[in-house]
């Protein structure tokens, strides 16, 4: 029930560059899984509230007190492209 266009649309939303074969396989596999999962739509769930949180806790708040930040050299050590004391990326506007 998931066709090629839908797979491509979802892949774009998820920022995944799937190859042609992968797209075809994904369409098949996801359709099969969804075919099984679909059945829950037949249940009568009228008036049932969706679970948004499993535990019965509210307001886990923290006081507005500063805690130490990480040293910059530590965080940049993991950066694929350190640039200007920051994290380099291709420009979003660049064609």
């Amino acid at each position: 029930m998931l066709d090629r266009d839908q797979v491509l649309h979802v892949a774009r939303l998820a920022r995944l560059e799937l190859g042609e074969q992968e797209v075809a396989r994904m369409a098949e596999e996801l359709s099969k899984v969804l075919g099984h999962i679909e059945k829950i739509r037949e249940l009568d769930l009228e008036g049932v509230a969706p679970t948004s949180h499993v535990i019965d806790v509210v307001n886990a708040l923290r006081p507005d007190d500063p805690t130490p930040s990480l040293p910059r050299d530590v965080i940049l050590a993991a950066a694929p492209e350190p640039l200007n004391d920051g994290f380099g990326v291709p420009s979003p506007g660049a064609a």
Partner: protein
């Protein structure tokens, strides 16, 4: 030519003046070196989790109360999912269909909703202009990422660019008085986007709206909205349609360029944030917020100025919505009272603020000028007591602005004291005026008061404005009509 009416709504983001970020304990940054205020949470490191800043909630509730909103008893945070380098988790923690506040009103504009969220990081672009187009490489500074934001969305109740500007100033004053934010547009702690559409006057259906971004001053907001209204008007008049799009306003060229077209519209895939628990605002939190509110917010102050002090409605609003004017005025009023104000009405004192503002610049704060509230009060009192003419007082004001000091001393030094009928020499000048223009004098003698102008003008010139115009008129009339 069809008459079109603009329909404008504003979407405002306010950075809160907390010590730490919305979901972690990193300190907020003020032009600090890049990336020195980060931690696993605001960097989006694997395994990190958010925890809500209780002061941000407190400020959010205060804002809701100040705007007359319904504060939700229970609200949720949601994930807003999209990819961008300034968004480390690939989603922003915000609020969606169960926000902190709904409804409300400020001045003439209804509020649609108010909610809390985290700010994105700062994306900087390499290349000459520093702007995104034409640059090849960008880099991210995460200091700002995670700063607590309140988003305020209005109903589309605004009907002109000027109204938009004035209302935003009112909002800014209100938030400043709450003490929840610096609300400085040039620093980015107050950001405003506008949703603009137009429709034939008298109709009630909404036209297609566009979203305007990048107006980072009150003046730019007004100009940007004005430019967009014009653009839409021209489109509709040539039979074209307005497309729903996001536009970037460039104040340098007064032009609007599309940022994203409809095809690129995001599917944010909102769902409740599973790493946070629901927010329940009970009596205690409301009481704490109320206790922290200032005694009087701008709308209330305007009413008091009008009702109790007898200021003109427009003046009352001006002084209330521009707190620096209102504060200065009230200090001057206090000073006048303690000087023994000789019957000076608040409304009369208020008339001296606009000339002061004219001289120091409309965006300046009178209390940082050389004119102390005490000296303004003194000047106003002197005019009321006819110690100095209105015209001469204006000259004194100019000098006060330039050098400060005491009005009485300036009057003495410059010899600007009022000349009245009791003074020698004034009668003589009145005679010379009459002699200089017999035709006018004749008309006045016959009862035509309209002809008195040139004669009064003569005396004013001769006395260098030290004589009061009304006084001069009386003297001339008495002389000529007996």
């Amino acid at each position: 030519m069809t008459a079109y009416e603009p329909v404008i709504g504003l979407e405002i983001h306010v950075q809160l003046d907390t010590r730490t970020k919305m979901f972690c304990g990193c300190e907020l940054s003020f032009n600090d070196p890049p990336n020195i205020h980060t931690c696993p949470t605001c960097l989006g490191l694997p395994g990190a989790l958010p925890v809500v800043n209780e002061r941000a909630i407190h400020f959010g509730i205060m804002i809701g109360l100040a705007l007359g909103c319904e504060i939700a008893e229970r609200s949720l945070f949601h994930r807003k999912n999209y990819f961008y380098p300034d968004l480390p988790k690939g989603y922003q923690i915000s609020q969606y269909d169960v926000p902190l506040c709904l409804g409300g009103r400020l001045g003439d504009v209804r509020i649609h909703r108010v909610h809390l969220e985290e700010d994105a990081a700062k994306l900087n672009h390499l290349g000459a202009s520093g702007r995104i187009h034409g640059s090849d490489r960008s880099w991210v500074d995460f200091n700002r990422g995670g700063t607590p934001l309140v988003e305020i969305v209005t109903e589309p109740d605004i009907r002109s660019p000027e109204q938009a500007r004035e209302w935003l100033i009112l909002l800014r004053t209100t938030l400043r008085q709450l003490g929840v934010s610096d609300v400085d547009m040039s620093q980015g702690s107050l950001r405003c986007d506008a949703n603009v559409s137009i429709r034939r006057t008298g109709t009630s259906e909404l036209g297609t709206k566009t979203e305007l971004k990048n107006m980072n001053s009150f003046a730019y907001l007004e100009r940007g909205v004005k430019a967009e209204i014009e653009r839409q008007r021209r489109l509709l008049e040539t039979g074209e349609e307005v497309e729903q799009e996001t536009l970037h306003y460039d104040p340098a060229t007064d032009s609007l360029t599309p940022l994203r077209s409809k095809e690129e519209a995001h599917d944010y895939r909102y769902f409740p944030e599973p790493d946070l628990v629901p927010l329940v605002v009970g009596e205690e939190m409301l009481a704490a917020a109320r206790a922290d509110m200032p005694a009087e917010l701008p709308a209330e102050r305007a009413e008091r100025f009008e009702r109790e002090l007898g200021l003109h409605a427009d003046t009352a609003r001006l002084f209330a919505f521009r707190a620096e004017l209102g504060d200065y005025f009230e200090r001057a009023l206090g000073a006048a009272g303690s000087q023994g104000n000789g019957g000076l009405e608040p409304a009369e004192l208020s008339n001296w603020i606009p000339p002061l503002v004219e001289r120091i610049g409309s965006d300046a704060d009178p209390s940082s000028s050389n004119v102390t509230p005490e000296s303004l009060a003194t000047l106003a009192t002197m005019v009321k007591a006819r110690e100095v003419s209105r015209d001469a007082a204006r000259e004194v004001l100019t000098l006060l602005v330039k050098e400060g000091g005491d009005p009485r001393a300036i009057v003495e030094r410059e010899g600007l004291g009022a000349i009245t009928g009791e003074d020698d020499g004034l009668a003589e000048i009145v005679d010379r005026a009459i002699a200089s223009d017999p035709a006018a004098a004749e008309k006045v003698r016959d009862g035509n008061m309209k002809a008195i102008g040139p004669l009064v003008g003569y005396v004013m010139r001769e006395t260098k404005g030290r004589a009061d115009g009304g006084e001069i008129t009386r003297l001339i009339r008495d002389r000529l009509q007996g």
